[in-house]
């Protein structure tokens, strides 16, 4: 027993060291540079970059909260024709990498593209100059694009929460005479706050770390500036300095949110919750509901995915199936599965750490698990280069390895993916574990089960649906991940996203489109499963 706890502490310490290592390594890099960059940044870069980043985050935040909670409420509280289909379809944008959506929309919305072209011919205008429309290559364009792709991060947990916890309370509110708006604003929304906060946090982190879409659309966020400093000026210390300041801000914001939430717990009661009784809609009300619910699906998924499918079809019809895609698909699935397995397992242990070790140490570990998601992918990967090399040289000197086992191997990729997306599975597992009434695990402990045994036999089975949905979300994220893969992969290993990026970079869109469609298709499988699991989770309770 004591030995098991000792092992637990040792494991937690090693994990904490690994989680902190990229930050420490970046810190060392930052120290290697002087402070001479900052007057330049303060004078010419930061005012605009901070403003654009803040506006981008505020815009995307409002949009994902509005779209995510609005659609979650729509499909949970109302019944209308097509609701069940819509319930699943609303998740579809999750499968789309943001930079791919940016490419697709620029093609679709360009003056030479089908939409503006069609509009001009309808109006009888010969030149694009006669029809000056706002350019997608702008901050508002970037906000809209990211918002419509990232809202499912809010929709998914919020909908689950509405379905699971809201039933009894909403019933009560309704009996007391509250209308749908009032019960949404006064009951459902405050109740859903942890889920909305979790989802919005993930979506904002994605938006902040996005480089592909922002750079392509000409939005100069802080992250884009980190890249300019590092890549274009070969100034890694300077880039590390900016990245660390950004990371500090993110950590502070997350801390503030937790502080504001206070110690409030959201554990369920052991009693079965009543499911929400949906209010039936018909006539124009049903039509409006369908239209409102469908719009995000169309804009975040159907339009860009349809365009890509069309381009892919043109490519296959013209030149056949690209011959390397089978291997790339296999690599993508292989790495994503392996890394997801590790991420789920580690995530579960981290989420259970407050219970297994001590509350304080466990919470510290959970915070550390969020670091990888809070920094841009390439920055994380660069930060990992040093620690991985250190592991390698340690193994070499100890005579335990003759070839590299860290850098330039699949292991490095799996470690990097795990560190990057750990917070996704930790968050889901935390939520799953928190939903289990304390009385159940307390009962197991009183009846003589050890902590680990209680976790394995009581808590995990109860929290399993949430854990699994975290895993599926992580799988989708890993399958479409780009910057970490680009920097750390082994020789001759191409995944669908690295291939797509290469093709997009040299402008052979049609070849890339087939890969893009495959990435989206691979993402669709877990996205579909996500929905089923959610429902199971509800019926089981």
């Amino acid at each position: 027993m004591a030995a098991a706890r000792g092992l637990g502490w040792a494991g937690a310490t090693a994990l904490a060291a690994l989680l902190l290592s990229p930050v420490i390594s970046l810190g060392l890099a930052a120290l290697g540079g002087g402070s001479e960059l900052w007057p330049h940044l303060a004078a010419y870069v930061l005012p605009q970059a901070i403003r654009d980043t803040a506006l981008l985050l505020a815009g995307v935040g409002l949009l994902v909260i509005g779209l995510g909670t609005g659609t979650a409420w729509l499909v949970s509280a109302f019944d209308f024709p097509g609701r069940r289909v819509l319930e699943g379809a609303l998740l579809l944008p999750l499968a789309m990498p943001t930079y791919v959506v940016a490419y697709a929309y620029l093609d679709l919305l360009h003056p030479l593209g089908p939409l503006q072209g069609g509009l001009r011919s309808l109006l009888g205008l010969p030149s694009p100059r006669d029809l000056p429309l706002p350019d997608l290559r702008s901050l508002p364009g970037c906000i809209l694009l990211l918002g419509f792709v990232l809202y499912p991060y809010v929709y998914l947990p919020t909908r689950a929460l509405f379905l699971m916890q809201a039933g009894t309370l909403l019933e009560a509110a309704r009996m007391l005479g509250a209308g749908p708006y009032r019960s949404f604003l006064r009951i459902a929304l405050p109740l859903a706050r942890p889920a909305v906060a979790l989802g919005t946090g993930l979506a904002l982190m994605e938006a902040l770390n996005d480089v592909g879409a922002a750079e392509f659309l000409g939005v100069r966020t802080l992250t884009v500036q980190v890249y300019a400093t590092w890549v274009n000026r070969s100034d890694l210390p300077g880039a590390a300095q900016i990245a660390l300041v950004m990371l500090t801000c993110v950590v502070a914001l997350v801390g503030l949110e937790r502080l504001a939430r206070g110690g409030r717990g959201y554990a369920g009661s052991a009693r079965r919750n009543a499911a929400v009784t949906r209010r039936g809609l018909s006539g124009w009300r049903a039509g409006t509901a369908v239209a409102l619910g469908t719009a995000p699906v169309v804009l975040g998924f159907l339009l860009p995915a349809g365009y890509l499918a069309f381009e892919a079809w043109r490519r296959i019809a013209g030149a056949g199936w690209p011959d390397t895609l089978a291997v790339q698909t296999r690599n993508t699935i292989l790495y994503a599965s392996l890394a997801t397995g590790v991420t789920v397992l580690v995530g579960l242990l981290v989420a259970a750490a407050p219970f297994l070790l001590s509350a304080r140490a466990g919470r510290a570990l959970i915070r550390a698990a969020g670091l990888g998601y809070a920094m841009p992918g390439t920055v994380l990967a660069v930060g990992l280069l040093g620690p991985l090399a250190l592991i390698d040289s340690g193994l070499f000197e100890a005579g335990l390895a003759t070839v590299s086992v860290g850098l330039g191997t699949g292991a490095a990729l799996v470690i990097a993916y795990t560190l990057r997306f750990l917070t996704v599975t930790v968050g889901a597992s935390e939520a799953g574990l928190a939903r289990i009434p304390h009385t159940i695990s307390d009962a197991a402990r009183v009846l003589g089960r050890g902590r680990l045994a209680t976790l394995a036999t009581v808590q995990i089975p109860l929290a399993w649906p949430a854990v699994l949905s975290g895993g599926l979300l992580a799988f989708v994220d890993i399958a479409k991940e780009l910057p970490v893969t680009l920097l750390l992969r082994p020789l001759n290993v191409e995944t669908l996203s690295t291939y797509l990026y290469g093709e997009a970079a040299r402008g052979t869109y049609e070849d890339g489109a087939v890969a893009a469609v495959l990435i989206v298709s691979i993402g669709l499988v877990p996205v579909t499963l996500l929905l089923r699991i959610d429902q199971n989770a509800i019926w089981r309770r």
Partner: protein, 341 residues
């Protein structure tokens, strides 16, 4: 599953996990910042000819950091980049080793390689003017003239922080000094028709869409677009522009290079040198020219007809090394004038 196919499956799995990716004889490992699709024809031709397998990994950002971290155990033999700045960075960070090769020295002209053999240019691209095909009066241009108020609201360009533009601005800086470069950048920014964003092909597309009249792009994109390899849409963009080879006042057209170094810890050094020698052979230079629409570095090597039709290239004499050394200053100037904002 038969034992054999099971074995194959396992070794395939191990390979894709990067296990057992140790160096064998008759292999050469190439780390490149260049999109793999562009050099695949070259690699395949080399393997067919020599039997040597070329393993590749495309590392777009952070190539130097990765190789530096891998250190003495790095499996990299050759590091290939698409920009002189990134190439010189490898030398400056002591990640390259000197190479003495009569074949390389004979093929690559002195200004396009290091006297100490630490880097070699392999192909060139010119930064050219894309202009609306209806601008019939426009037959010659200087880079300086793009800041003229006559182009107000008529210029499309990608980000000033993109290495292709930074190298050009850097060349301007070496030639004209900081004050004049800053004034030029301000003038150029004032002439932009839209945000400096997207890629070089977007410049052609925007000209085709009548959003702007002129812009700068790399020469090989013209070949890629006009050849139809990027699809019928891009062919239309390529045909909607005419290309002028601009020069500096009293100078030539700005070119950037793709180039390579032999990695300091190269496990297959000899194979690496042989591969580099192949890349500057007549055969490989022709592949560069035909597959990528790049200018060969080897004097007298054939230029693709599509590229040759753009006009006779007079290369600007600003030394590549100086351009590489000034790129940081150029990048800071881009920030200072808020070029991308």
């Amino acid at each position: 599953m038969s034992p054999l196919s099971r074995k194959c499956a396992w070794s395939g799995l191990a390979l894709s996990l990067g296990l057992g990716a140790t160096a064998h004889a008759a292999e050469v490992n190439l780390y490149t910042t260049r999109e793999p699709g562009l050099i695949r024809p070259l690699l395949e031709a080399y393997t067919a000819k020599s039997g040597v397998k070329v393993n590749t990994v495309f590392v777009e950002k952070g190539l130097a950091e990765r190789v530096a971290a891998e250190g003495a155990r790095s499996s990299a033999d050759i590091l290939m980049t698409v920009d002189i700045g990134n190439l010189i960075e490898l030398v400056d960070r002591d990640l390259a080793q000197p190479v003495r090769s009569p074949a390389l020295e004979a093929a690559v002209p002195a200004p396009l390689r290091d006297a100490g053999g630490r880097w070699f240019a392999l192909s060139m691209r010119a930064r050219v003017l894309y202009a609306d095909e209806n601008l019939s009066g426009l037959t010659a241009a200087t880079y300086e003239s793009l800041a003229d108020p006559q182009w107000k609201g008529q210029v499309c360009l990608r980000s000033g922080q993109h290495p292709y533009n930074t190298a050009l601005i850097s060349a301007f800086l070496v030639r004209h000094g900081a004050e004049k470069t800053e004034a030029w950048l301000r003038g150029l920014k004032a002439n932009l028709a839209r945000k400096a964003a997207g890629g070089d092909r977007d410049v052609a597309r925007d000209i085709a869409a009548d959003l702007c009249e002129v812009g700068l792009g790399n020469s090989y994109y013209v070949g890629l677009m006009r050849s139809g390899r990027g699809g019928p849409d891009q062919q239309k963009w390529g045909q909607a522009i005419k290309v002028v080879l601009p020069t500096f006042e009293d100078g030539g057209t700005h070119v950037n290079v793709s180039g390579a170094v032999v990695a300091k810890a190269a496990p297959n050094r000899e194979e690496a040198v042989k591969f580099l020698e192949y890349l500057v052979s007549d055969e490989a230079q022709a592949v560069y020219a035909n597959a990528d629409y790049e200018y060969p570095v080897k004097a007298g090597a054939a230029i693709d007809p599509l590229l040759a039709s753009l006009g006779t290239l007079t290369i600007d004499r600003t030394p590549l090394l100086e351009i590489a050394r000034s790129r940081k200053a150029a990048s800071l100037l881009v920030d200072k004038v808020g070029f991308d904002n």
